[in-house]
């Protein structure tokens, strides 16, 4: 029982990270109908920018953790958003209107470029960050050293994710930018006919998706303390699985899918085999694609248009 609960907390923390990355996949898919394979690498770039920012802040003597964390969040979101924006401008926009596979191939190329770029600039070996946020709380004590604990970093991950997702959902549902994004998603041509600068809206979607992915990168860095140029690939595929599981194109679906993938992976590792945890996630991707291609919250096509 306590083991089960403990894994629940671990799974939620991990799932939050996947969920934040999954939003980027789902938003971009919704708006221009392509899978941005480079998005996982944007997450990786975010983690590296955060690491470098931490080291610089320490070097210039800013060591108060809340302040440092806030500054790192700001810097990483800003710079990573620029990367996301640049990827779209360089690799996808020139191909808009060409055949469907072209931007997909370009995305795979962009993914390789980002990985090699970070590998060259930062080296191939893993980078570590000493634990900054420590401390754990015992939630339940069953005696006999059977306890359920939540660490401060887990609390931080879950709360940050919750806040960001609430904020982002509000943005999409209730602001004029969010309305423009939904309009572009539902009918790009019509949105332009109503005076929406669709290129700008698409750019902003990439920008926001990358900013959210960078937060996931920071959380990953703080949680595991170890990153390398390759983390974007596996995390990216899992977040993509999460987006498909939740229903690609659906914002709540991405969040739900992220949490589910995090939980499934954690429980799989806990009760079956750690070695095969990635296999579990990929198997789910295949099963969902076969039996539930629109995902859990995928759009029901009821509209008569």
């Amino acid at each position: 029982m306590e083991y089960f609960l403990q894994q629940l907390i671990n799974g939620l923390a991990l799932g939050s990270i996947y969920g934040l990355v999954a939003i980027g996949y789902t938003m971009v898919y919704g708006i221009i109908g392509m899978i941005n394979f480079a998005h996982g690498d944007i997450f990786m770039v975010g983690a590296f920018i955060a690491l470098i920012a931490f080291l610089i802040l320490v070097a210039i003597g800013i060591t108060a953790i809340p302040l440092a964390l806030f500054l790192v969040l700001l810097i990483a979101m800003l710079l990573t958003a620029l990367y996301g924006w640049a990827v779209e401008r360089i690799a996808y926009r020139p191909l808009r209107g060409s055949f469907r596979l072209a931007p997909l191939i370009s995305a795979i190329g962009m993914s390789i470029v980002l990985q090699n770029y970070v590998q060259l600039a930062q080296g191939a070996r893993v980078k570590t960050l000493q634990p900054l946020i420590t401390g754990v709380h015992t939630l339940f004590d069953f005696g006999n050293r059977l306890v359920v604990q939540i660490s401060n970093i887990q609390i931080l991950i879950i709360l940050t994710t919750f806040a960001l997702m609430t904020g982002f959902s509000w943005l999409v549902a209730s602001t004029s930018l969010g309305r423009d994004m939904r309009a572009c998603e539902q009918d790009l041509k019509m949105a332009a006919l109503l005076g929406v600068d669709t290129n700008r809206t698409i750019s902003l979607t990439f920008l926001l998706g990358a900013a959210l992915a960078s937060v996931a990168g920071i959380m990953y860095l703080l949680y595991y303390g170890v990153i390398d140029f390759h983390i974007g690939f596996v995390a990216g595929v899992k977040a993509f699985t999460a987006a498909v599981l939740g229903g690609i194109g659906s914002l709540p679906g991405a969040m739900l899918g992220g949490l589910l993938i995090g939980l499934i992976e954690t429980y799989w590792s806990a009760y079956f085999s750690v070695q095969y945890k990635d296999v579990a996630a990929f198997s789910i991707l295949i099963i969902v694609l076969i039996f539930m291609p629109t995902g859990i919250l995928g759009k029901p096509e009821v509209e008569k248009v």
Binding site: R179, R182, A183, A192, G195, E303, V305
Partner: protein, 240 residues
């Protein structure tokens, strides 16, 4: 004579290498209702979309209020207060009626959204009743009213309507045509109308053009065209 609000001069437009418009000349004066009639595939919808820059004209010029808009991107053209209710209505299916109207108001910067909304609701009262319903679940006639209402939300100086009567029952068609006439007479709104329903359109319009295979074949006042035997046999007989 006053300046034309819209003048289309020698415009050709292509889909790939196939010409859909082959040297079109059309003028629309302020306060007019001008209609384009023609068979399926003549290029009527293409002309409406070319005015809006999608596809852009490859030859010729499109002048709106004295400004050459031929090579502007679509969103900038629309921000100059041209609005279109396009072929197929293109309602945003997963947005409510109200949100669809809000989207229409996107270019009405500094305007009074409440007043614009009230104007649309008084023109089409059913939209107010349906304001929280998703666009995709409206009936065809309601969607058409929404498409026109959405176009009006930007307070356009030129309204482009592409087959507003398509697929609608006669009663709804009459309602929509009377709304068009009202907008023109009461608010002096200039309207450029594409219609299959040539009889209705020519009765309503001040002037009309007949389009055949991407070219203008005939033009004249609405009543002139109604009298022409070629028009009668090709577009009217049995078709009313």
């Amino acid at each position: 004579m006053s300046e034309p609000l819209l003048s289309i001069k020698g415009v050709s437009a292509f889909y790939g290498n196939i010409a859909a418009l082959k040297g079109i000349d059309v003028e629309v004066m302020p306060g007019e209702i001008v209609t384009i009639i023609g068979a399926n595939g003549a290029g009527k919808s293409t002309l409406m979309m070319t005015i809006c820059g999608d596809p852009q004209a490859r030859e010729g010029n499109i002048i709106f209020e004295g400004r050459d808009i031929t090579h502007l991107p679509t969103y900038e053209i629309m921000r100059m207060k041209i609005a279109q209710s396009p072929e197929g209505r293109r309602i945003f299916p997963r947005m409510t009626v109200f949100e669809n109207l809000q989207m229409g108001a996107a270019t009405a910067e500094g305007g009074d959204m409440k007043a614009d909304l009230a104007r649309v609701y008084s023109l089409f009262p059913i939209l107010e009743k349906r304001s929280n319903q998703r666009g995709g679940t409206l009936s065809g006639g309601e969607q058409q009213m929404l498409a026109i209402g959405r176009a009006l939300m930007s307070r356009p100086r030129l309204l482009l309507l592409d087959e507003p009567s398509l697929g609608l029952a006669p009663l709804i068609v009459r309602q929509i045509f009377s709304a068009i006439r009202d907008l023109n007479q009461r608010e002096k709104l200039t309207i450029f109308l594409v219609e299959q329903n040539a009889f209705h359109a020519l009765k309503l319009a001040h002037r009309g053009y007949v389009m055949v295979n991407g070219r203008i074949a005939m033009q004249g006042t609405g009543s002139e065209l109604l009298e022409r035997p070629e028009v009668r046999s090709a577009y009217l007989e049995g078709g009313r």
